[in-house]
């Protein structure tokens, strides 16, 4: 009995330590923006808003959040639409070597990540005159995310019975009507998951925008954050913490909204 109790106490202590490890940075993020002189410690804030004023006065900070929104929502739209259409076709048409193709794409897209593809992508963007353009960046980011997105969505498509579509077809529905009326509603949780995953990916992506956008006015928050230093070259914790808080709020809100509305699922299957 005592051994059992001791075991329990040990278990919960371990959990508490682990939790503290993850909680402290979050606590810091929640308190430091409201502290007039933040350090690396977590302290009870004095509820000042002057840090936020500094962000508002910053020439690029707020715009960079708008840029982040444009880039991530644009990429998410493109990825969702293209991956849904591609996955539907791949799921319904029997092509020789289809699965091999999918796995190869997935594998290549995860091996050749940003750093490895940095130089060729930069050259490609220059050749295509897509440097310093949000459209260009959205295209390149979408290209990187599409293989994984198609792979995930195809699983959802595979698990929708063919008879639903055939039934609609016999009633006279056109292929686009079938997709709109039957397929998309059935895979909606999958599409929501892909959209959120894309937004989160783009939101946190530093390398690609840093590489392809030289105009400060076009740079997203992830890149601007990198410039928030004092004149002495020290990290400016006042601005950095405040900006960090503003930077994380949209993503958290999105997670909460989508999770409530659709629920996250990473595999197919129909809830009847």
């Amino acid at each position: 009995m005592t051994r059992f109790v001791a075991g329990r106490i040990g278990f919960y202590t371990l959990i508490a330590v682990l939790l503290a490890f993850f909680t402290i940075p979050l606590l810091w993020l929640a308190t430091a923006p409201f502290t007039s002189d933040p350090t690396y410690e977590v302290r009870v804030p004095d509820f000042t808003f002057e840090n936020f004023q500094m962000i508002i006065d910053h020439p690029y900070a707020l715009w960079s959040l708008v840029n982040s929104l444009v880039l991530s929502i644009g990429t998410a739209l493109l990825v969702v639409v293209l991956s849904a259409l591609a996955a539907y076709a791949l799921s319904r048409v029997r092509l020789p070597g289809r699965d091999a193709l999918l796995y190869a794409l997935l594998l290549l897209s995860s091996i050749i990540t940003g750093t490895a593809a940095m130089v060729p992508l930069f050259q490609l963007a220059i050749e295509l005159n897509l440097i310093d353009s949000h459209t260009g960046l959205i295209l390149i980011l979408s290209g990187g995310l599409l293989p994984a997105a198609i792979f995930m969505i195809k699983d959802f498509m595979d698990s929708t019975p063919k008879s639903y579509e055939e039934s609609a077809r016999v009633f006279g529905a056109s292929p686009l009507q079938i997709v709109a009326h039957v397929v998309v509603p059935l895979v909606r949780p999958g599409l929501a998951t892909i959209a959120v995953w894309t937004v989160a990916n783009v939101w946190g992506n530093f390398l690609m925008p840093y590489l392809l956008l030289s105009d400060v006015e076009k740079q997203p928050a992830a890149v601007i954050m990198y410039t928030l230093y004092t004149e002495g070259g020290q990290a400016n914790l006042k601005v950095l913490s405040t900006f960090g808080l503003l930077y994380s709020i949209p993503v958290v809100l999105m997670y909460l909204f989508v999770s409530k509305k659709y629920g996250f699922r990473f595999h197919g299957g129909i809830k009847r």
């Binding site: 019975p161 008879s163 639903y164 055939e166 039934s167 609609a168 077809r169 016999v170 009633f171 006279g172 529905a173 056109s174 009507q177 009326h181 039957v182 509603p185 059935l186 129909i270 809830k271 009847r272």
Partner: protein
Amino acid sequence: MAAIELRGLTKVYPGGVKALDSLDLNIPDGEFFALLGPSGCGKTTLLRTIAGLETATGGAVVIGDRDVTGIQPGARDIAMVFQDYALFPHMDVTDNIAYPLRIKKVAKAERQRKAAAVGARLGLELLMDRRPGQLSGGQQQRVALARVMATQAQAFLFDEPLSNLDARLRLEARTFLKKLQRELGVTTVFVTHDQAEALAMADRMAVMEAGHIRQIGTPAEVFQRPANTFVASFIGSTPMNLLDAVVRSDTLEVAGCKVPVPASAEGLLVDGEKIVYGVRPEYMSYTAEPADGSLSGDVVIVENLGASHLVTLEVADVLVQAVVPEGREPELGEQGFAVPRRDRALAYRDGELVSA
């Protein structure tokens, strides 16, 4: 409403599998027609080819007076109930029933009114706001039926309409379907692998095997006079006795016993030829006393069928079955005599029925 006609319909799958081999079939307007056969015989392929979900390799499908062979399923003016009913899980019952009307661009108020009317006819009034997942199997089936009724199509196609119901409900649904089809009077083709279902519901039926139609006829014709030994062994809840026989002038020698030549084959058999003698257990009368023209042997198995018993006799190493009414069942091991009804017995030469 329209008749359905198939002319030399052939379907060859890539890889060379011949699912349908030059089928000809006429289904008159308003008929309830069954496609019956074991799994893999091509009956579902045939139904899907009529629907247009499979393209015919050769031949023609004519619905009404229109050749629809090359036409898309949606333009054939037919409606289909799928084996799993294919109700859209994200739509409620009203939207499901109204879906064909939505495709035809009927205004929303009008299609909801129509859906409500059809739903009410099938007793779905209280379920109209539910999703398919909240319905029982029987209710789902009625929603699927309501949905095809809402189309007002020229012909209905049902793929195994009863196979997703449990045994008890299946009998009720059988009666219900037959009554509904009679009331609507729409030409209806259904596929089943259950011979009892086909016999019970259909006006006429086609028995299929390996891409061929082996017999077309009313349930009574198919049951009483199977055109070949395949149909004979496939139809009937107790399999037909199919026994090797040799013709001896006006009698047949079957497993060492002498039985009279079947009435239907009288004068058509050649002395000394080998045939297959067929008689259903239902058309055998069993007696414990020696009788003329009977098959005699020892009782080896007695199976209870409810109101009757299926008695198996061992006649010179051949098993012969007879149905015996309740209260008259014999003891195991006793000697018994099975007298076939001469007017119901059949003779098969090379697997085909011998008849005038």
